[in-house]
Amino acid sequence: MGKVFFVASGFIEFLLRRILGFAVILLVLSLMIFALARVVPGDPARMAMGPSASAEQVEAMREQMGLNDPLPTQYFRFLSGAVRGDFGVSLISGRPVTEQILRLLPATLELVLVTLLLMMVLGVPLGVLAARYRNGWVDTLLRLISMVGVTMPAFLVAILLQLFAAFYLSDWPLLGRIDRGIELPGGPTGLLLIDGLLAGRLDVVRSALQHLAFPAFALALSGIGQIMRLTRSAMIENLRRDHVQTLRSFGVPDRVVTFRYLLKLSSIAPLTIMGLEFASLIGNAFVVEMVFAWGGFASHGLESIMQNDLNAVMAVVMVSGIFFVLANLAIDILIGVIDPRLRLKEGR
């Protein structure tokens, strides 16, 4: 693994170009959400003041909110605020939007991270299994399962899991992040699993894991299916490659070939797709959090959307975009670590 640190300039350049691309994505996203927010039929100032306010009061509010300025000025103000992490105040609660989001972010972060882990831990080995016994009954069964996973919307999986638990696991907690009676550890990360471990509070970890199991599985199911399918086809394709054939003909055991050489080579395609899939993962988190009363960033987003809290909606969309971009950057780096052809490519 020591080689990883010899990052060639080519890879740095590649990363820089990606970062530039991500910046463009966020810029376009900000333009889009700003344009959307300004075609609203309702008057944000009227919404903030409530129906009893007089016309003069609303007009004063419009002035204060800057809604009377020309659109480019308004956009520039929105953008420069966003860069500094300032999205204004919520039209409903009157508190800074950013503060609300930061408070709720760890809950969603924990859910998403555990979901990603579940996708990899289940999807990749099952894909290997399907490739190993391809066209046999294991393969057919797994193909069927992945088809079901892709076919079922996340909210249905979530509800069916709840229904199942209500009938067969009567003690299993179905709502929230943690049991009511447990005192929160209050650590540095806000992630209950990590804070619980740091504080040595196994009851916290246990309860948090119980609460995480169903939502994370509901979110992960479609991803597990896709990763499994991609891993399978990549394994089968790479099996034909010369260097793999050479290893096999030298008598290197199947297991070593599979796990030391083939798997590494075959993890690139599923990783790339996971980056794109991350967008739909964020979307599904909105629904799953609602079903499980998770109380995270996504449920907050849903609430703001339902209440027409414009500033909060804009912030939620932007933060979702930032989430997506960061995840893809991490995946690009990971692929660079796995694939030396990319990392060590001279020049270009």
Partner: protein, 298 residues
Amino acid sequence: MPSPDDTMRAVEEETPVILSARRMAWMRFRSNPAALIGGFMVISVILAAIFAPLIAPYPEAAGNTIDFANRHAAPSAENFAGTDKVGRDIFSRVIFGFRVSLLLVIGVLGIAVPVGAALGLAAGYFGGRTELLITGFTNVMLAIPPLVIALAVGSILTPTLVNAMIAIALLWWTWHARLVYRVAKSVAAEDFVEAARLAGASHWHVLTREILPNCIAVISVKTTLDAAFVILFGATLSFLGLGVRPPTPDLGSMVADGRQFLPEMWWGVFFPALGIFYATLGFNLLGDGLRDMFDVEV
């Protein structure tokens, strides 16, 4: 398929039996049971949607009827799937619910597929600055979480079926643009395209008559698979309360309604869920079958 007699005659006459590409593809499709089942499921959903008033045992359940004496009735001989909180037959409502799902599919894909295909064709054929602009824009749009934007649009505008369609279509064309671009670019480099240009054919002719036919296979596979996703997406939106207005039956909002009465009245969630599952599984199986049939990567 040629009969043994045909084959023998062909051997005797020393002319090989040549199957047209279309015939071969059809044979591949026919010998794939999953694809056939998927095709059957899709056709049954479409027929059920068109003839809903004739098929549904209680067509009035699609409207505002109320039958409190019969509310929350468990599945029985009269109501295969039980009744909902105001006593309407759930089976009938699921049949009518397919109408909304399919309308959404037609609306979204009717916008997204032509737009995506046109942009993909232009990018692949013209190259240069057009290509750079279109692929760049497509890649940016691909990165935007579709459900988040759909939610934002649904809440900023009033939540109706048409707005839901707009919201979904706004981001859906990207996948088609990407796919058609890939095929168009490789086809545009072929000799017959060059030949057509040299013979004086217009850009329009080359695009529609020489390149587009080669993209039909990927477009149709992707469109079929997309139908499943749009149904799923629409169900998610209406589950969140951003779909059609009641009392119009819609699978997603039926699940949301039934959810309040879990776990005792499980049928209120289970049968609408089964409806969603049936429709999306059908389109997925059919799409997979078409993919094998045309032998394309989508």
